[in-house]
């Protein structure tokens, strides 16, 4: 058993990763609440944004501009998908809506592999200027990127929670989560609210893509499928509460990283999100045996 000292650096990386998972998880939950879509292409969109940023930086575009392009690209692509397929699939089950986003995932994944081919063994990396600096608390080196990871998670979660609670648009989104038809009857511009949710989710995908490209790896496959880990957090919160998603994301990030120093479990650490989500889903759905009308858990 490793000593407490060995765990300390992994707590830091765990919290930072958890913060980014939270950011992604919150994006997924908000979109699911407003539109009923589990956006499985979240990771792929972010990954493509990050790869575009990498290309722009390598041809000499200013860094801030390249980052902005990543966020804008992710937002625009997600919004475009939402505008085309949102109304088309509005009356279908959540499963069909989620499966359709797998189509987008495959398209983007194929395109990324085609445009930024990895067969040559070329290793790309995207480093943020915040990697260099940092400070240390009792021998643990903490980079500013890690601080940003956690901070962005906190800010986005708090901001989204407040937005849903206090603004008119947020209230409309919560109403849509309950019943789309009735909300429309009450005069809420349903399409516009949905478009806002798509855009927000896409922007978050871009930010998460940038941060994860720096923290984990700038690799299409890795980034595309990191969405599953973020989804784990959202699932633990049953795709409902933003705050719970945040806490679950921190838990997932922490557990995943704290398993690394335990030698016998190192190889299995990446299983943590899956196992946690599976257990949570099973525990939370103990009671319900049959759903009569609308699809719920």
């Amino acid at each position: 058993m490793p000593s407490w000292q060995d765990f300390q650096p992994f707590i830091v990386t765990g919290l930072a990763l958890g913060g980014v998972y939270a950011l992604s998880g919150v994006g997924l939950v908000v979109l699911y609440q407003a539109t009923g879509v589990v956006y499985l292409a979240f990771g792929a969109v972010g990954a493509m944004g990050a790869l575009i940023t990498w290309s722009l930086i390598s041809v000499g575009v200013a860094h801030w501009l390249a980052w902005l392009v990543c966020v804008l690209f992710s937002g625009a692509l997600t919004l475009a998908y939402g505008l085309v397929f949102g109304p088309l699939l509005a009356r279908r089950t959540p499963l069909v809506k989620a499966t359709t986003t797998l189509g987008l995932l495959l398209i983007l994944y194929g395109a990324m592999d085609l445009l930024w081919t990895t067969s040559g063994g070329e290793v790309r990396s995207l480093t943020l200027p915040t990697d260099g600096g940092g400070f240390s608390i009792t021998h643990i080196q903490i980079t500013w990127t890690q601080v940003i990871g956690l901070a962005v998670g906190v800010v986005i979660t708090a901001g989204t929670a407040a937005f849903l609670r206090y603004t008119k648009l947020g209230t409309a989104m919560r109403a849509m989560a309950n019943d789309r038809e009735i909300t429309a009857t009450l005069g809420v511009p349903v399409r516009r609210v949905e478009a806002a949710a798509w855009l927000g989710c896409g922007v978050l995908a871009g930010i998460a893509g940038l941060l994860l490209a720096d923290m984990v790896a700038l690799d299409a496959t890795t980034l595309t499928f990191l969405v599953i880990s973020s989804l784990a957090a959202a699932l633990i919160a049953r795709l409902r509460s933003v705050i719970l998603t945040f806490l679950a994301a921190l838990l997932v990030g922490l557990v995943q990283n704290m398993l690394v120093p335990i030698q016998s479990l190192t190889n299995y650490s990446n299983m943590a999100p899956f196992v946690l989500a599976a257990l949570a889903l099973l525990a939370l759905s103990r009671r319900r045996v049959i759903a009569l009308s609308r699809e719920e858990v």
Binding site: T93, P94, T99, L102, L108, G110, S285, L292
Partner: protein, 363 residues
């Protein structure tokens, strides 16, 4: 439930299975027999070694698609983790083939049974969940299984439970049945195994379980109310699908000789679901189409020097297209389109019946 048919289909009048117009059973059977004989006798002679290999993989993936088709098309359970099930089957078969001298078919059967038990046990608690949540939990479970397999490694002739020896310099190939050691012979062998699996599923669909599954897919509460043990029949479907996929894994182990965990990346599950949806989850022919899409198309593209990434993009477009407009996939859509074309061209022909769109898909 994956109601891929959506609203358009539910408006159609329900028709009884027996009253459905379609080609007579005899013709249908004759078509199947002729196709099978052609595949077994003529195809290995016509194709180069490269395409014989590819066609063996088609047989394997047709079985995988068949298993997923049972879940998606019959019961309405979407699994995003079939590649993990396939890997479990391949692993068990490889381990048994190294450890024992049992005949190949016995090993296939055992691998199928092991996979059936594991698949059922893994999904047993998850069957309380429905629809989206079940699909997502299979994604999670498959991710977990993939990581375990990557750590465990595939057997390479070593000793112990895992049968893996990292220091081995000479890795023995996984053996094939003595009657089918050459590539064309093993291709015939895998086609026969696949045909047996298709027959097994077809029997299920036409008998009691098939009717129960149809009822469950339409409405689970209604099925329950009519006295169908929904849990039993759902488990039955999962067990059957896992068994078929496990056998496919066993065939795959023999086909490739060497197995590595990187051959089973988790995202292949998504591709498998994509080709099953594109091929048509409601028809057994859809599984054949899915196998061809999944394995023959990449082989063709590679031969032509086109990147496989185009195929991934095509599958993505296919999924979106199927889910939004053509819910029954190519196996259903293509003959219909051809029939429509035929009617346009030859007005003389009153009714052109598609020959292959035959399975008892409920409206």
């Amino acid at each position: 439930m994956l109601d891929v048919a959506g609203r358009t289909a539910s408006k159609r009048q329900p028709r009884l299975l027996l009253l459905r117009p379609g080609p007579p059973t005899l013709i249908r059977a004759a078509v199947i027999v002729v196709l099978l004989l052609f595949t077994l006798l003529a195809l290995p002679q016509l194709l180069s070694a490269y395409y014989v290999d590819a066609m063996t993989q088609v047989a394997v993936y047709a079985m995988v698609a068949l298993g997923l088709g049972v879940l998606v098309g019959r019961v309405g359970l979407v699994s995003l983790g079939q590649v993990a099930v396939l890997a479990i089957g391949a692993w068990s078969a490889a381990r048994l083939l190294f450890a024992t001298a049992q005949p190949f078919p016995v090993v296939l059967l055992e691998a199928g049974l092991v996979t059936m038990v594991l698949g059922t046990v893994l999904l047993l608690p998850a069957l309380r969940l429905r629809g989206l949540y079940l699909a997502l939990i299979t994604l999670m479970l498959a991710g977990a299984v993939t990581i375990v397999l990557a750590t465990l490694n595939f057997p390479n002739g070593g000793h112990g439970f895992t049968g893996y020896n990292g220091n081995q310099t000479h890795v023995p190939p996984i053996r094939r049945p003595s009657i089918a050691t050459s590539d064309p012979a093993f291709f015939r062998y895998s086609v026969i195994v696949a045909a047996v699996m298709f027959a097994l599923v077809a029997i299920h669909i036409r008998t009691r379980p098939g009717r129960a599954w149809a009822a469950i897919r339409q409405s689970e509460p209604a099925a329950l109310a009519t006295g169908i043990n929904t849990t039993l029949y759902k488990l039955w479907a999962v067990a059957l699908a896992s068994f078929v996929t496990g056998v496919a894994g066993g065939v795959m182990a023999g086909a490739v000789h060497y197995l590595y965990s990187i051959d089973f990346p988790a995202y292949t599950s998504i591709t498998i679901l994509a080709v099953v949806l594109m091929g048509g989850a409601y028809s057994l022919w859809g599984a054949v189409v899915a196998g061809l899409l999944m394995q023959l198309l990449p082989a063709l593209l590679q031969n032509w020097g086109v990147s496989n990434d185009w195929l991934t993009i095509l599958f993505g477009i296919g999924v979106v297209q199927v889910l939004t407009t053509a819910p029954r996939g190519l196996a259903d859509q293509f003959p219909k389109d051809m029939a429509r074309l035929g009617r346009l061209l030859f007005r003389l022909v009153r009714r052109v019946r598609p020959v292959v769109a035959e399975q008892g898909e409920t409206p």
